[in-house]
Each structure stands twice: as structure tokens, then as C-alpha cells.
């Protein structure tokens, strides 16, 4: 005790030396190092399981193969195309056809990032090592998104340049420096990355692989089909706000009437991502592991 006068002049918020000495150093550490540790740990987890690498390879290959095949097919029937086809031709539409498959494999892998930990029970070790569960989720999303982004940038670049080379003899190709083209290619990457982040969030919320994958596929594959059955104009109005339509808006060079603007598409898909990750955080914090 230093006497009341000494305490009174001490500015509020300053911790006295006695208190600081008692406080264990580990608690005094900020959350930054915890997030750094969790992130490094998640990277180690991701790269040390072989199935991850296979799924990423499949994602990259499907992006490239489907894009190149469909573009080559289109080039081969070039002279038989109708006027509407020619008018509405997007130089990236066929190139990026593989993204429809890639988003599914990224989705499954994203779900597994969380649910495989619940299935094996290793989630106990994960939360035991990092009790700040929101940081664990943040680390998982950050690492997975970064890896998916790296793979997508490479595969989107490969498919873009290959397909444009195929289209060049028909004078239908575009250059990466043409208006909207770079934005569209990066939009394809962002689309895949955000679907992956949504998938991680679904896995964290539902904890079961089957349930999370089923829900993801229902939203990406089944819902668009159901919505088209609605009476016009509801079908078109709703369709443009669905996750894959919002994603497709980002990667289109030509502006399609049934899609949002690229920026609006990005905002919508980001909003879905934020909502799912927000729900996942609440579930992680509230529920017993």
C-alpha cells in the first residue's frame, strides 16, 4: 500500500507495479500473437493432409479442362452460331465454365476444413490449444481463402490465356488489358474464394459434413432451378441475387440483363459470406465443443 495520496494522483487506467507483477505474463499477451499462432497452425493442418492437395488439384484441373474444352467446342461450330448467340457472346463465358465445377469442389473442401475436425474429434485439441474460438474460425477462413485464391489465380490465368488463344483466329478473343477483362478474371477468383469462405462457415455452423455439403449444394445447384419455376418477374428478380448469379456477375465481361452489376454482385456475395460467418461465430461461442 502506497497511501491514499499516492493512489489519488495516479492517472486512471495505469496499473500499479504491484498489480503488474502479480499478473501472469501469458494473460498480458495481446490477441495478435494468438491469431498468428492459430493461422500458422491452420496452414500446417491444411498442407499435411493429402486429401486437401488432391481436392485443390481437382479444382484447378476442372477450372482449366472444362473452360478449354467448351471454348474449343464453341470455336469448332463457330460458323453455325445464330445471330443472338453472336450478339450475346461473352469472351469469358466458356473460358470460365469450369468455375461452376470448381466452386463445388472448393465448397466441399471448405466444409471439410471444419467438419473433419468434428468428425475426428480433433476439434477438442484445436479449441484446447486456442480457446479463442472466433480466432480459430478467422484463422481457418484466412488460410483456406489464401490457398484457394492462390490456386484460383493460377488456374484462372491459365484458362484465360489458353482460351483467348483459341478464340484469337476467330477474332473473338480479348486481351487482359481490354476494358473489364482483368476485373472479370479477378472476379472469377473472388467468386471461388467467397464460396469457399461460405463453405467453411456452413461447416462450423452445422458441424456435420453431410448436412453442410447438402445445404451448400442445395443453394448452388437446386435453388437456381426452383427459382426459375416462379412466375415472371419474380424468377429473374430473385435469380440475380442468388450466390452463383452474384458470383457470375463479377466474372462477366459483357453486361447481361439477368445479372447484377459486377460491384453489386460482389457486395451481395460478400453479404452472404458475412452472414454465414457471423452465424458460425455465434454458434462456436455459444455451443459446447
Amino acid at each position: 500500500m502506497t497511501g491514499s495520496a499516492g493512489v489519488a494522483v495516479e492517472p486512471p487506467g495505469v496499473v500499479g507495479p504491484g498489480v503488474a507483477a502479480v499478473r501472469p505474463p501469458a494473460v498480458a499477451t495481446g490477441l495478435g500473437p494468438v491469431l498468428a499462432g492459430a493461422t500458422r497452425s491452420e496452414w500446417t493442418k491444411l498442407r499435411t493432409v493429402r486429401s486437401t492437395m488432391w481436392a485443390l488439384l481437382f479444382t484447378a484441373v476442372s477450372t482449366v479442362v472444362f473452360g478449354v474444352l467448351l471454348t474449343a467446342l464453341e470455336v469448332s461450330r463457330w460458323d453455325q452460331r445464330s445471330l443472338t448467340e453472336i450478339k450475346g457472346f461473352d469472351p469469358l463465358l466458356y473460358s470460365f465454365a469450369g468455375l461452376n465445377v470448381a466452386q463445388l469442389s472448393v465448397g466441399v473442401l471448405g466444409v471439410l476444413v471444419m467438419t473433419s475436425e468434428y468428425a475426428t474429434g480433433s476439434i477438442k485439441l484445436t479449441f484446447g490449444a486456442t480457446p479463442q474460438r472466433a480466432l480459430v474460425l478467422a484463422a481457418k477462413v484466412a488460410v483456406f481463402s489464401a490457398v484457394v485464391a492462390a490456386v484460383s489465380i493460377v488456374s484462372c490465368a491459365v484458362v484465360f490465356f489458353t482460351c483467348q488463344a483459341l478464340l484469337a483466329p476467330r477474332h473473338a478473343g480479348v486481351s487482359i488489358t481490354d476494358p473489364h477483362v482483368l476485373r472479370a478474371v479477378l472476379g472469377g477468383v473472388v467468386h471461388i474464394v467467397l464460396i469457399g469462405a461460405i463453405a467453411v462457415g456452413l461447416g462450423a455452423t452445422l458441424r456435420r459434413t453431410a448436412g453442410a455439403v447438402a445445404l451448400l449444394f442445395a443453394v448452388l445447384l437446386v435453388l437456381p432451378g426452383l427459382v426459375t419455376l416462379l412466375p415472371s418477374p419474380w424468377n429473374d428478380d430473385i435469380t440475380r441475387y442468388l450466390p452463383n448469379s452474384a458470383g457470375a456477375a463479377m466474372s462477366a465481361v459483357v453486361r447481361f440483363p439477368n445479372l447484377l452489376s459486377p460491384l453489386a454482385g460482389f457486395v451481395v456475395l460478400l453479404a452472404y459470406t458475412a452472414a454465414v460467418l457471423g452465424a458460425a461465430t455465434l454458434v462456436l461461442l455459444r455451443r459446447d465443443a
Binding site: A26, L31, G37, R40, S122
Partner: protein
């Protein structure tokens, strides 16, 4: 030091842990004992923050586990040894754990060597035997060189050599001044490993104390006599106030008369004795008695009032 205060956990209508209070001192091995389903594992889950208590608290040196920044450096826990990804190598399993708490990678090889898994480090976790998996779980607990160690049923699946190894490990960790809490449903194992005991049943505290005191206090003893004159000696002992039960054609089990007094009585009556010895009730019996009483009390709370006298 680990301290539980009025710790309670309900899962819906089920009360898994019921107003449990205890402390686990440092520098000693404390056995956490109870029948299967008595709430040991739940208490340990609450301790490492996997589940949140319904009420009460459990802390490590005054702090909740969730407040720890790099908990592996302060608390090592073996809760469920097969809770790991089967496709990842044993060594990489430890590497990701080390990374999460910024523990140097060289510690991974140190702990692998200390549990005898250096050669098996490259093998996939799913290919390890039960005992090797248990060793890997123990290695994970030791990774951060923590002051507090928690082991849930650590000898499960271990061969006799492994069991002895775990006993030595627990003893030496405590000798280094660490806090060691080890759960078991085997009283006999705790008798050779632990200094202190915390005994629970149906989520409630039944007894705490030194193992030695516990054995002394709870183990009743009786005298076993083998004699061709069992009928005669039995009658004499009953006169002395003993409670005698017949054990085979020539055997008697006597409560309430000391061994030497049985000998004196038999000699005075000129009876032949083949065998005379004090039998200590086994720890398992004492443990079952303790937990059974509790179960009876729980099942019939009204019955005690009239018959207590």
C-alpha cells in the same frame, strides 16, 4: 493449482456434475476417481473450456482456461487419445499443435523421443496402435512443458510396460513440482500412482484426502481362520462378540475380534488351527462401498430419516 468451486454442468435434464468443489495441489499426483459415467470426463472438459459450466467455476491458478493465451504452455491435457486426423503423420500432428501456441518445433522431436515414438513419427496417426496413439496423446500434453497436466484414463490401451512407464512419468512430473490430475475408474491403479484422491459419483463429491488415509479409513479388515473345528470356534467367537460367517467346511471369517485374540481363544480351547490371518478389504471393495452408499442415498433420499438410529 486447480480449483473447482460449486462446479455444475447440466445437459438438458441430466446433471453430469453437481456442485463439485475440490482443489488439486501442485507437486503431487492427484487421482480423480469414480465409476464410468460419474462425471470425470465432463469435469475435465469443463476444465479445458470445451464445455461451459452451468454454474460455479473451475480455474487454474485462479484463471479460467479460456483466459489463457497460449494454454498448451501452461496446461497439458490428454482427454481423448484417438481424437486426431488419421491421415496426418504423428509428427505433423504435434507440429500443428506446437505452431498454434508458438512452441519451437524442436520441442516436437524432444517429446516424440521422450514417449518413445521417434521412429514412428512419420507414420500416419490412423496406423498407430492403441498404445502408440496413447503415447502420442501424452506427447501432445507434454509439448508446451506445462506446469499443470491433466490425463483422462491415460493407461487405457497400454501394455504392462506402458502402464509402468505412465506411472513413472506421472510420479516424475509431480516430483518436478507440477500439478498432475489423473482420472481413472481403477482404484488399484490410483493406489500405486496417486498421492491424493478425489472420489466422485453421479457428479457429486464423495471423498477427498491422502491415498494412505483413504486406505486406512475406508478399508475394513476381518480375520480369516481355517480350522477343522469351525463349528466350535465359531460359537466361542460369537460369545466374544464377533460376527462370524462360515466360509467353506473349515473356514471362518470373523469381524469384531482381533487376530491375536482369535489365536488366544483357540489355544485356550485346545483347537487346531491351520491358518490365521488378517484380511484387508481390497481398495476396489472400499471404492465400491463408497460409491454404492452414495447411489443408495441418491435413490432413496427419504429412507435414511427413520433408520439412521
Amino acid at each position: 493449482m486447480i480449483a473447482a468451486r460449486e462446479l455444475t454442468k447440466r445437459y438438458g435434464p441430466v446433471v453430469a456434475v453437481d456442485h463439485l468443489s475440490f482443489t488439486v495441489p501442485q507437486g503431487e499426483v492427484t487421482g480423480f476417481l469414480g465409476p464410468n459415467g460419474s462425471g470425470k470426463s465432463t469435469t475435465m472438459r469443463l476444465l479445458v473450456g470445451l464445455d461451459a459450466p452451468s454454474s460455479g467455476s473451475i480455474t487454474i491458478d485462479g484463471r479460467r482456461y479460456g483466459e489463457l493465451r497460449f494454454p498448451l504452455r501452461e496446461v497439458g491435457a490428454l482427454l481423448d487419445a484417438d481424437a486426431l486426423h488419421p491421415g496426418r503423420s504423428a509428427r505433423n500432428h504435434l507440429v500443428w499443435l506446437a505452431d498454434s501456441n508458438r512452441i519451437p518445433r524442436r520441442r516436437v522431436d524432444e517429446v516424440l523421443a521422450s514417449v518413445g515414438l521417434s521412429e514412428a513419427g512419420h507414420r500416419r496417426a490412423g496406423e498407430l496402435s492403441l498404445g502408440m496413439g496413447q503415447r502420442l496423446g501424452i506427447a501432445a500434453a507434454l509439448l508446451g512443458d506445462p506446469q499443470v497436466l491433466i490425463f483422462d484414463e491415460p493407461i487405457n490401451g497400454l501394455d504392462p510396460e506402458g502402464i509402468v512407464w505412465v506411472r513413472h512419468l506421472l510420479r516424475s512430473l509431480a516430483a518436478e513440482g507440477r500439478t498432475v490430475l489423473v482420472s481413472s475408474h481403477l482404484m488399484s491403479e490410483m493406489a500405486v500412482t496417486a498421492d491424493n484422491l478425489i472420489v466422485i459419483g453421479r457428479g457429486r463429491l464423495l471423498a477427498t484426502g491422502r491415498v494412505a488415509d483413504f486406505i486406512e479409513r475406508s478399508s475394513g479388515h476381518h480375520v480369516r481362520v481355517v480350522t477343522p473345528d469351525a463349528d466350535v470356534l465359531g460359537e466361542l467367537l460369537r460369545h466374544k462378540g464377533g460376527v462370524v460367517t462360515r466360509d467353506g467346511p473349515e473356514g471362518l471369517t470373523v469381524d469384531g475380534v482381533e487376530c491375536r485374540d482369535v489365536g488366544i481363544l483357540a489355544a485356550a480351547a485346545g483347537l487346531t488351527i491351520y491358518e490365521l490371518s488378517t484380511q484387508h478389504a481390497s481398495l476396489e471393495e472400499a471404492f465400491m462401498e463408497l460409491t454404492h452408499e452414495h447411489a443408495d442415498y441418491r435413490a432413496m433420499p427419504q429412507a435414511g430419516a427413520g433408520s439412521a438410529a
